[in-house]
Symmetry: C2
Subunit: 360 residues, 2 copies
Amino acid sequence: MAPGAVSGKSKVTIVGSGNWGSVAAKLIASNTLKLHSFHDQVRMWVFEETLPSGEKLSDVINRTNENVKYLPGIKLGKNIIADPDLENAVKDANMLVFVTPHQFMEGICKKLVGKVNKDVEAISLIKGMEVKKEGPRMISNLISEQLGINCCVLMGANIANEIALEQLSEATVGYRENKDIAEKWVQLFNTPYFIVTAVQDVEGIELCGTLKNVVAIAAGLVDGLEMGNNTKAAIMRIGLREMKALSKLLFSSVKDSTFFESCGVADLITTCLGGRNRKVAEAFAKNGGKRSFDDLEAEMLQGQKLQGVSTAKEVYEVLSHRGWLELFPLFATVHEIAIGHLPPSAIVKYSEHKPMLSLV
Amino acid sequence: MAPGAVSGKSKVTIVGSGNWGSVAAKLIASNTLKLHSFHDQVRMWVFEETLPSGEKLSDVINRTNENVKYLPGIKLGKNIIADPDLENAVKDANMLVFVTPHQFMEGICKKLVGKVNKDVEAISLIKGMEVKKEGPRMISNLISEQLGINCCVLMGANIANEIALEQLSEATVGYRENKDIAEKWVQLFNTPYFIVTAVQDVEGIELCGTLKNVVAIAAGLVDGLEMGNNTKAAIMRIGLREMKALSKLLFSSVKDSTFFESCGVADLITTCLGGRNRKVAEAFAKNGGKRSFDDLEAEMLQGQKLQGVSTAKEVYEVLSHRGWLELFPLFATVHEIAIGHLPPSAIVKYSEHKPMLSLV
């Protein structure tokens, strides 16, 4: 049954209210006002915080229509209702948008068991699922399994603050079987400056969002070694090829064409040009690998976490476990550099372990 | 018959001795010394010039082993013989490497008619073929047709000076039918820092080398408008998609996978990060489109030519002639901005003319 089929109008709840969650709220709020198939009002679950002023964050969002802590200066839309009560926020929803840090999702799902409508549709905007030895554990799967509901994904080259300023961007919605649901998510997110395309490949899209961070470490090392754009482009291309090859080995349903979408090549470009993984890896190489990633992360990121290094470790374990290490020299080398077994310059000694071309 | 099958060793001649030609000579010279299937000695045709010192360029190359004008500071290999006599340079060759500015190729081919061995194999490293109203005119076709010989291509993210410094890079060899010939070209060019892959798609590879310059204009406009990496990545991705879609419409043999090779995504990245098309387009947008590309080119490029603007014009004519304009909004918009019909900011008003998704 399509979401909202009973009332004819879908009710949307956003689970999360950080930087990206607030931008998602802005996009969604502008569309629910315009489109008849959605209720105007959108609930946003806020992890409650007390601001320095003594006020509650949710109260300030509801009073000023602005997330003063995570997206200051941007109006979210008057139809966004901040709600610090998770259970209350989701209880009437037909459509749930998950956009929290990924380490919170397990706890949130546990709290939501039995609390959501059975025919609710979900979408995950959360990048950075875990890659375990036996294979990746996708956030969309976690949501689906724990709550017994269908879950799409939305990924892409999405720097929240640029989208908040309404600068042109794109995103990819991934769906499993139901194309109508995918189109409904496209309607909910698509704006003239945020162009959304639906693709039937949840795993490919979600793996792009994670594996690109390993490539960004490699790109940052090249920057730190002061090689030119040529070498950086080669490393990014080899990285994209390994992303594609590993995704296809892990899930035979993954499509080549997904890597031409915003979630693939465009997100990779954004992440390798800017982004914290690139930045810290650059510093690591400039220091000749003598200061650890942990050390540099603590100094440079003010508490933000570096995904690429931990993902590289997890990917290395998968590759090692399955006997695929020599098929993925770039992924393997990133991890070996990060743990100090190889010098940063090893990243451009690529041909010494050229992979089997048949994989590519 | 494989090149050099009679003697067992192939003789290589390089036609061209500019910046990229000299780097190609260095790569080739190192390989012919190592590999038994090639004659050590490699001839390089030099368009003769008299240097300020009064010496001839070819004499200086032969004396110093260095192309002091186009690649100073780099030893080419003692087995490179500079030869200012085109006919003499090619007469014994089984393998011809064409690497001249593309506007010279028609004249060179005319001079070579009847002067080359009938079973000689050729490869073109020349980017920037012409796109005529009825379709593109490929350099490899020009060589094949005028000389009655087979012609492969080599393209990729190849900034000559970076490769001269032996920094990691990749390239793509395109071939038509004979995979053995392609492998022979790979042997001739491949080194530990220059990784060459053969792909059966001459047209796709050659079109990448030309169409990327139009995308670089778009990327430069985004830079000049001071949009972020997000928007730039979106424009590069949309550009890559239009490159792929147009190539496939023009030649049904073109493969999607070609665009994942060095000649595709990697060359696009290099060209959109650095490169003169990007640079002049950035200045054009910063000036609000008030100074023409011709004007900026004259001021900024010291006589070098801007390919992207003229290619955009040629592509526009093809699209217009075939009724495809609305399928390629990015390509069409670049030309309309360049001729002043649209402001530079139109490049990010993409969704106003979103193409048919079926094409993609």
